[in-house]
Symmetry: C2
């Protein structure tokens, strides 16, 4: 329904952190991000994938930096990217220093796995000098040994790890920190972020880690990220899928859209069809989805297969089609505007959508 | 992680309602249901689809009953079905009477759209005589005119409609009622069910109506149904998708599994891959998923692409594989049990899963 959300979503207030031209936290729009899965040292494939992600709606893109050659490739990637890049670094603080000097807009690195406090200070000083934030990314699969001994692999253990990592940066005089606490288990991820949001005001990056292949990973992420968003928690989201990361971006937008938090393109509602349906609705919906795939107008389009719920839902949508026997009723903002033959109804609906979009602009 | 949920999910207590051998509410397991989209009068196709749904894990199946011929077909469908059937009826109370006498285990009908209170009494008496419940299904797209005037198409309007419908049955001496309040808008559906669960103790059937085609509908349903389950609300769930209803059943199970509420088959966790990954992980995961598609053992299997998070996550799973350069580490309950060559690792993992399952049985 275009009447929009009825559940108040009071956002937990966090400090604002700038990542290039994008701001995470501080009540700003929830930022959609993703990560490349190309070999970072292959500048051409990586740049191509970054641009595909940006086109799909990624507002930040993270790249893995496993070695110095990858770190050096970042300079070219940054210059070719339309969105800020984030360097993902483990173990070796020199990679962080190289990535920062290559021009990335954020570094993800855990103080706990780069060794001494003097190395932490070096990275913090470089990040402060470049005016970029650091994300501390706690993953349930790699908690420090002593924390695992004390708390087990648990939400509490994840929060204690996040606090320890953040304090290491604070001691180095650095506070522009984004936090993530991810587990592959959805309830553990939710509990960790709920606990964390009561303990610090750093913006939270949400995700279910190792969520699995596309279908299963999308469901886990929708449940986990969706639940936290409904609790007002989360400043940036990343859906993790084993597969093409463009699907991560599409899923992230759809999760935000389900909560009416943000929308990219039309919301197409359509009925599941049942014994009352006399048209091939899945085929009609696919045709409508194809026809609107390039559409970025945030409106609700209803495509309904019968006379029971059809006219009612179509009435609540911005633009709607209710299919009867051989005819389609076209509706705009609750009014029937036309009645057309079955073979013309998809084209007529698409025309109505584009005209509606133009009128709104 | 096999350590399971850390978020307490205190279920809102509801009255128990029996649907054949299945019980909805009263703290019982959340029931998975779906609906056929064949022509109900075509007994052979409908029976075939019912059985496909049951095999996929549907514990109840609903069929639309648009006319008397469909109602009469129910007798054969009931005799051929391994799960209880629910008749979905609109407008004509005689269809409800015929469906009940044909042997269905539940009827979905709204008193408000079958006319006089004497007809409501007739249906209630027949349902009571057959010892079956009635589902009142409120759909935001078809609220009564006066309620729409007063409350708009809103969560409040949906709840007022549900209360009015339930009271009509109460006045007819009938109380074995399951309620559903569905909108295509996720926050409206959530708000309606939250409100409703504070107003009555009828078991709640959750779903997002007209959720759309498979991909988008799965995300909306995961967010909406997932959120309510996380709040302890919901006794039976139906994912509505425009497409093959078997996908509805698979998605419903996956949502329950994400919350660790119920599980059907293995939970496969796998990383999104990144620049550190040196194997074709999506292909490996697909091979593992294929190899385990007939597996109903509820265990966690980790398939990880690198040495950073891989061993940690694989350690937390029941059975895990962490792929390095040319080799795979096989893990069982946190212990490395084998190190095999890349070309043998999937078969070795599958063997480990089956052996693990046998040991657990």
């Amino acid at each position: 329904m275009h009447s929009g959300t009825e559940v108040p979503l009071p956002r937990r207030m966090t400090r604002a952190v700038d990542v290039g031209a994008v701001t995470i936290g501080g009540g700003n729009s929830i930022v959609v991000q993703s990560m490349t899965n190309t070999d970072t040292r292959d500048a051409s494939s990586t740049s191509h994938q970054i641009n595909r992600l940006a086109e799909a709606g990624a507002e930040l893109v993270r790249v893995a930096v496993p070695d110095m050659e990858a770190a050096e490739t970042l300079r070219q990637l940054c210059s070719e990217s339309s969105v800020p890049l984030v360097a993902d670094i483990h173990f070796d603080h020199r990679l962080a220093l190289a990535a920062i000097s290559a021009g990335v807009s954020k570094v993800r690195i855990n103080p706990g796995n780069i060794g001494s406090q003097s190395r932490v200070r070096e990275v913090a000083a470089a990040a402060a000098g470049a005016d970029i934030p650091i994300r501390v990314g706690v993953n349930a699969g790699s908690l420090p040994h002593d924390i695992r001994e004390k708390y087990g692999v648990s939400a509490r253990g994840m929060v204690e790890t996040a606090l320890r990592e953040t304090q290491a940066l604070t001691r180095a005089g650095f506070s522009s920190v984004v936090l993530s606490l991810k587990a592959s288990d959805v309830p553990t991820t939710i509990a960790a972020n709920q606990l964390m949001s009561g303990r610090a005001d750093h913006p939270l990056h949400l995700g279910i880690t190792e969520a699995g292949a596309e279908w299963r990973g999308t469901i886990k992420s929708s449940v986990g990220i969706g639940y936290l968003l409904g609790q007002g928690i989360g400043d940036t989201i990343r859906v993790s899928l084993t597969g093409d990361p463009v699907q991560e971006v599409r899923a992230a937008w759809e999760i935000l859209s389900a909560w009416n938090l943000r929308r990219r393109g039309p919301n197409i509602v359509s009925c599941p069809t049942c014994g009352r349906c006399t048209v091939d609705l899945p085929a009609i919906v696919r045709e409508v989805e194809r026809g609107l795939s390039a559409c970025t107008i945030p409106l609700t389009v209803a495509v309904m297969g019968c006379e029971v719920n059809g006219p009612g839902e179509a009435r609540e949508a911005d633009v709607g089609l209710a299919c009867g026997r051989g005819v389609g009723l076209l509706m705009r903002e609750g009014e029937v505007v036309d009645r057309v033959n079955e073979n013309e109804m998809v084209q007529a609906l698409l025309a109505l959508v584009w005209a509606y979009g133009e009128r709104k602009e």
